[in-house]
Assembly symmetry: C3
Homo-oligomer: 254 residues x 3
Amino acid sequence: MKFNNLNVFVSPKAYIGKNVKIGDNTSIYDHVRIEDNTIIANNCVIGEPTNDYYFNPDYKNQETVIGPNSLIRSHCIIYSDCKFGDSFQAGHRVTIREKTTFGKSCRVGTLSDIQGHSSFGNNCWLHSNVHIGQKSTIGNFVFIYPYVVFTNDPTPPSNVCIGPTVGDYSQIAVFCVLLPGVKIGKHCLVGAGSIVGKDISDYQLVLGNPAKVVKDVREVKSRQTGESHYPWPLRFERGMPWEGIGFENWEKEQ
Amino acid sequence: MKFNNLNVFVSPKAYIGKNVKIGDNTSIYDHVRIEDNTIIANNCVIGEPTNDYYFNPDYKNQETVIGPNSLIRSHCIIYSDCKFGDSFQAGHRVTIREKTTFGKSCRVGTLSDIQGHSSFGNNCWLHSNVHIGQKSTIGNFVFIYPYVVFTNDPTPPSNVCIGPTVGDYSQIAVFCVLLPGVKIGKHCLVGAGSIVGKDISDYQLVLGNPAKVVKDVREVKSRQTGESHYPWPLRFERGMPWEGIGFENWEKEQ
Amino acid sequence: MKFNNLNVFVSPKAYIGKNVKIGDNTSIYDHVRIEDNTIIANNCVIGEPTNDYYFNPDYKNQETVIGPNSLIRSHCIIYSDCKFGDSFQAGHRVTIREKTTFGKSCRVGTLSDIQGHSSFGNNCWLHSNVHIGQKSTIGNFVFIYPYVVFTNDPTPPSNVCIGPTVGDYSQIAVFCVLLPGVKIGKHCLVGAGSIVGKDISDYQLVLGNPAKVVKDVREVKSRQTGESHYPWPLRFERGMPWEGIGFENWEKEQ
């Protein structure tokens, strides 16, 4: 249904791998590499030129690489000068600006807005409508829920840009704000609606505005099982590299 | 202006009723039924296939029905396996995933993101940028204001998915979060910026993080009139089935 | 890359100035004026008809003017009956409804949703995902950060619509709500996550839900310099008309 080759534009300067599908009404601009077995659905723009394109007659797109086995759903805009590892997945209407890198097996939900100049490790899952300001650094296995905002200007407006950092396995719940330059440790849980202005050490549950430490996440019980749910990699494996073998066994192999 | 039959794709397996208009750059996929007198504006995708489509060569779209006299504005994405009653209206860039049902006379605002597996009664009005997680159940005459999020995972990440429930005539103001499994009664008003983690009985005004009962909504006065404004159906009738006859008369006929 | 004249629709009733570029898959409807040296990128709709178009056979688009030297990025929807001054810039997927006016040198970020019937002065910068309800009035040099919502119905649902007012040089940080009819003075700073229900006089820093005055903004120091950062026009000039000459010199010339 989606691959009728209607109104598709692929630059002669783009590289399209084997068994790649490109949806109707999609444009692929210069110096984009789409690796094997990847699907770019309909109405997408891949390799969007940066601002300089409109004003500099000598402008050339930098390379953008979409890793193999990826699935980019409809209406996404991905700028030039980005890199995505294997098995990247995007929802609809995602916007990702230049100089963003994602490791392998990452997912970005519908309407998310990544402002560029940021890096994500492996297996990060961003749900719908996440806003990542420039200069953000996100580790591995980080989950970010809807309507979370990462900010970077401590005294707006200014020319200072210091993004937040989030450690491996941490989770940021719905409607949180990470204030400029904040560092969140590993295995943290930032509760819904928190505004985080201070650094958080590993394994902390924080909550509120301003966010304060509530307890160690290992003390948080599941309402369903009555047992401790965190660290979550011990209790959740769907889509994770330890699926079927368990986190502890997988970790030993790393 | 919008109906020049430019770059329109309609599947031969779609049904298009009488006096239907389809805008330029719109795609209608398999097993979509567009009932009479409905307008699908430009740049829409109706009958978007579910995830399985990309990986299963035997995939078939389930039926999607857009009721008669509906108006879907530009750039909407509506998945297969959804049902919309009469006189449905959508703003721009709305995304509605599979297994969502709407009763009659519902409206969904620009940028709203309905994650699927949810049901809405009649005459629900969702304003811009509402996010409804899976497994949500919404009654009749429910108003949801911008940037409201319905969540469903009590200990993220997990495989548990329990959505919120909202009773008839209730209203959820801007920037509220309904936490997983919460039940809101009838005729409630959830004030701006509330995070609701506990069930709320009928006619309550709740506010804050965590949301607490403030008073009975029937004690809330209008700043304009100085009189009680709630239950709102007694004071508001624009676009409602009791327009011109009054809520109490209409209710007797039900 | 973006200007191949593929699937472009320009109404014969539109006016296109000198040295204007129009991107692929863009539609320009009746009575749109695009002034000289302006770029409308790909997949935009300019001159979107109002609701009446769908139901009134005698409907005619009102004039929309996009000022000279403007840059509207891809996937924007701009309604008829709007006016934009010189050097307007829009990000991606911006939606601006009818009867919105912008002065010169304004910027609106990706995914912002301007509901119409509102006015902005000169040099306003709206970041991503700002929601401006109808009947809002914004002065000059106002900065609005991501996920800010301006509301207008004091007792929802009702037929009352009274929007907020924001004075010159004020800033509204991420995730703020301005409640209906609120007036924010000049040179104010509304801190992240505030819900503002009362009028705020000039030079106030306000914070919280409900927002309360914390201090005079002139007492706020920069973490970087240790010095007072506000009024910000004395410390920030990038893109401002006082760039290179200083605010105080520029102000004398006004």
